[in-house]
């Protein structure tokens, strides 16, 4: 008896499904962090194993004092379509961030802190970069409890073996 999924594609093998993704979050602006989180959450929704590796300013997303204060970059961000000089005024980044957060809430998307917690609940692994932890003098206690471990890049590669690596 063929399964629901097999009968639909009988005779057509199609491409190999992705089994595991390891996603690196390396930047700290709001628009840099969301894509990695959406990829991880989306992977879990498709039954794909997922690991998130936070490094450099990406660690703000798992930092207790910082994860509620992540901002949109308004200077030198051509994607925003505002002139660089305008983006540099005091308060512009905060304003743009508030605007984006309102839009995000309207669509019922989670904020970053809630999103990371949700992703951890789906069974994805959350890791902080050892080198960045050393560089920024971060303690394990500064990081949210959902972080599974602080690992080196070599350990990351071991963990990522056999799957795809996505760098954001």
């Amino acid at each position: 008896m063929t399964s629901a999924t097999e009968s639909a594609t009988a005779g057509d093998t199609g491409p190999e499904p992705i089994e595991k993704v390891s996603i690196i979050v390396s930047k700290g602006a709001l628009e840099d962090i969301y894509p990695g989180l959406i990829m991880a959450n989306g992977a879990r929704n498709e039954g794909i194993e997922a690991n998130l590796f936070f490094t450099f300013f990406g660690m703000d997303a798992i930092h207790k004092q910082r994860h509620d204060h992540i901002k949109v970059a308004t200077v030198g961000n051509p994607g925003l379509h505002i002139p660089t000089w305008a983006g540099g005024f005091p308060g512009v980044s905060a304003l743009m961030t508030k605007y984006m957060e309102r839009q995000i809430e309207k669509l019922d998307f989670p904020g970053i802190a809630e999103f990371v917690e949700m992703i951890s609940d789906t069974g994805a692994g959350l890791y902080a970069c050892q080198a960045s932890v050393d560089l920024f003098g971060v303690d394990r206690d500064d990081l949210i409890e959902q972080v599974d471990d602080i690992i080196t890049v070599g350990e990351f590669y071991e963990m990522a073996a056999g799957g795809q690596i996505i760098f954001t």
């Binding site: 009968s7 929704n45 998307f109 609940d121």
Partner: protein, 106 residues
């Protein structure tokens, strides 16, 4: 679009295996489908809570809920959802509930 016999009834499925017509679904089909897609059976009360919620959402809103909506509104948490439907709750619950795959990124 292949037709399939589930629980002695013929149903129409799309290329991905989702129901084309959710009204063809009966409750007897859910455990049969669950076993095929890797959901641990027998189905518990919590499984049925989710299945009922998915159908309710589909008929009210025209599409099934995303995992986030399920986690927030069905009474079953995200963690529990992934235990009940191990490889992707929104997708697997949609299979079991006889509704099309929910579209949504979060």
């Amino acid at each position: 679009m292949p037709n399939k016999l589930i629980a002695d009834r013929e149903v129409e499925l799309n290329d991905e295996g989702f129901f084309v017509d959710p009204t063809q679904w009966t409750a007897e089909m859910a455990p049969v489908i669950a076993e095929e897609v890797g959901v641990p059976t027998p189905l518990t009360d919590q499984h049925w809570l989710v299945i009922d919620f998915m159908r309710k959402e589909y008929f009210e809103n025209g599409t099934g809920p995303t995992v986030r909506k399920l986690g927030k509104a069905s009474g079953v948490t995200t963690k529990e959802l992934f235990q009940l439907f191990p490889k992707g709750p929104a997708k697997l619950a949609a299979y079991c509930a006889g509704i099309p795959k929910p579209r949504g990124c979060i």
